[in-house]
């Protein structure tokens, strides 16, 4: 299964809480943090390579790496009957590329090749609050003032793209049961629908990943 959301939406907390809950039901669980692409990070740090790193090229490099990691980190353990929870996965990746201006259908098509989860939990957080939390204390006041508008706009687009995937307004990489958690309130109460969806998937013996 996958827990998706913007930075600061609490995906790691939710993934770990769900993992502990599943373990109590007697299943082995692997929580896999889903990093951004190493290749893209390396390219971004190199002046010459950075010039070639357009959104389209970056998207293709990221998905190439994701396909390999999906097989290694998600495919193999789930084939042996374990539960894998990806702390962010294809939806967040698709939403990032859409927020950078790429065509949602093209990007979703690229991600079809990742191992498909049986449940996606979207942690929804107010983008302005998430931006405030990410910037707070990390940057000086002048720098924060300079980057906040662009960053806020990007996170807003990212959150909107994730919402569109959850509502089905844009087609995701695969048909999948999804649950939206509004993580602003009591976490325990808001996890209930996710637990219901996971229970149904586990009891139904659905597929490999949950």
């Amino acid at each position: 299964m996958a827990v998706e959301g913007i930075d600061g939406a609490g995906t790691t907390t939710v993934a770990n809480l769900l993992a502990r809950w599943i373990e109590r039901r007697g299943r082995r669980v692997h929580v896999v943090p889903w990093d951004a692409s190493k290749a893209v990070r390396r390219a971004a740090a190199d002046g010459r390579a950075r010039q070639a790193l357009t959104p389209q090229v970056a998207a293709l490099l990221v998905v190439a790496e994701a396909v390999r990691r999906s097989g290694e980190l998600v495919g193999r353990p789930s084939e042996s009957g374990d539960v894998v929870i990806a702390d962010r996965y294809a939806w967040t990746a698709v939403a990032r590329e859409v927020a950078r201006g790429l065509d949602p259908a093209w990007v979703a098509g690229l991600y079809e090749r990742l191992v498909a989860p049986v449940v996606v939990v979207l942690c929804r957080e107010n983008p302005a609050r998430a931006v405030e939390r990410s910037i707070d204390g990390r940057l000086g006041p002048e720098r924060a003032e300079a980057v906040t508008p662009a960053f806020s706009a990007f996170v807003g687009r990212l959150a909107a793209a994730l919402d569109d995937l959850a509502t089905g307004r844009t087609k995701g990489p695969w048909p999948v049961r999804s649950v939206v958690l509004d993580v602003g309130g009591s976490l325990d109460a808001s996890l209930a629908p996710a637990r219901d969806a996971i229970r149904a998937a586990l009891d139904g013996g659905e597929g490999r990943a949950a």
Binding site: A49, T54, V57, D103, W106, R113
Partner: protein, 223 residues
């Protein structure tokens, strides 16, 4: 659909069919006739070339990963080399385009429909010349085939050269079907080099009389 003044000419063909030799000769010919030319070749991008080589040499090469890296390689060259040249009215001579990576992946079981969608960002070539070569002749022209290009990962044969011949036959059949479907110009690549060159030049000259070039759809919207 946007029209740009340049022309995109692609040379396709299996290994040792003389693509890069004829790309060089075609460039010289077009320059001699007063056309500006840029050349580009599969696997020559800044960002993806090394990753592509590593992925092919891996213990278990993944055809989907290789197709995606090939697309990244092509996307970078389109944005940095091909589109600017086409917009400036140059002729772009490309040593392979989308067909070679598509063929290599499809022959390893990746769905054609997904591959076609993957490559929708690539402009449609104005001319594709297929240098037709028998896989046996190709094999005789090279000592040490690359294991991925020989399809060794498909376990068609234990011996590298046997595998190369078998995979080369499938590849040649794939190109044959594609050439018929898309009306490519076909040139027998085992003919003397001057005759191959003359046929490639004739096809290019015929096209160079045309003025416009159609661009493909871009997933980024405006390019």
């Amino acid at each position: 659909m946007t029209a740009v003044p340049g022309l995109l000419m692609v040379l396709e063909g299996i290994d040792r069919s003389g693509r890069s030799t004829h790309a060089g000769l075609l460039e010289a010919h077009l320059r001699h006739r007063g056309r500006g030319v840029t050349r580009t070749s599969l696997g020559s991008s800044v960002l993806s070339a090394d990753a592509l080589r590593r992925a092919k040499r891996g213990r278990r090469p993944d055809p989907v990963e290789i197709a995606l890296l090939s697309a990244a390689d092509l996307a970078e060259r389109i944005e940095r080399v091909v589109q600017p040249a086409l917009r400036a009215g140059l002729v772009v001579v490309a040593d392979r385009w989308t067909s070679t990576p598509t063929a290599r992946a499809e022959l390893r079981g990746v769905e054609r429909e997904w591959l076609d969608r993957l490559f929708t960002f690539a402009p449609t070539p104005d001319l594709v010349v297929l240098l037709d070569l028998d896989p046996d002749v190709s094999l005789a022209r090279r000592d040490d085939p690359d294991p991925y290009e020989a399809g060794l990962d498909l376990h068609l044969a234990d011996d590298l050269r046997d595998s190369y011949r078998l995979f080369g036959t499938r590849l040649a059949a794939w190109f044959d079907a594609e050439a018929r479907r898309r009306r490519w110009v076909r040139v027998a690549a085992d003919a003397p080099i001057g005759r191959v060159q003359a046929r490639v030049e004739t096809a290019a000259d015929r096209l160079a009389g045309l003025a416009t070039h159609r661009t493909g759809r871009s997933p980024a919207g405006a390019t």
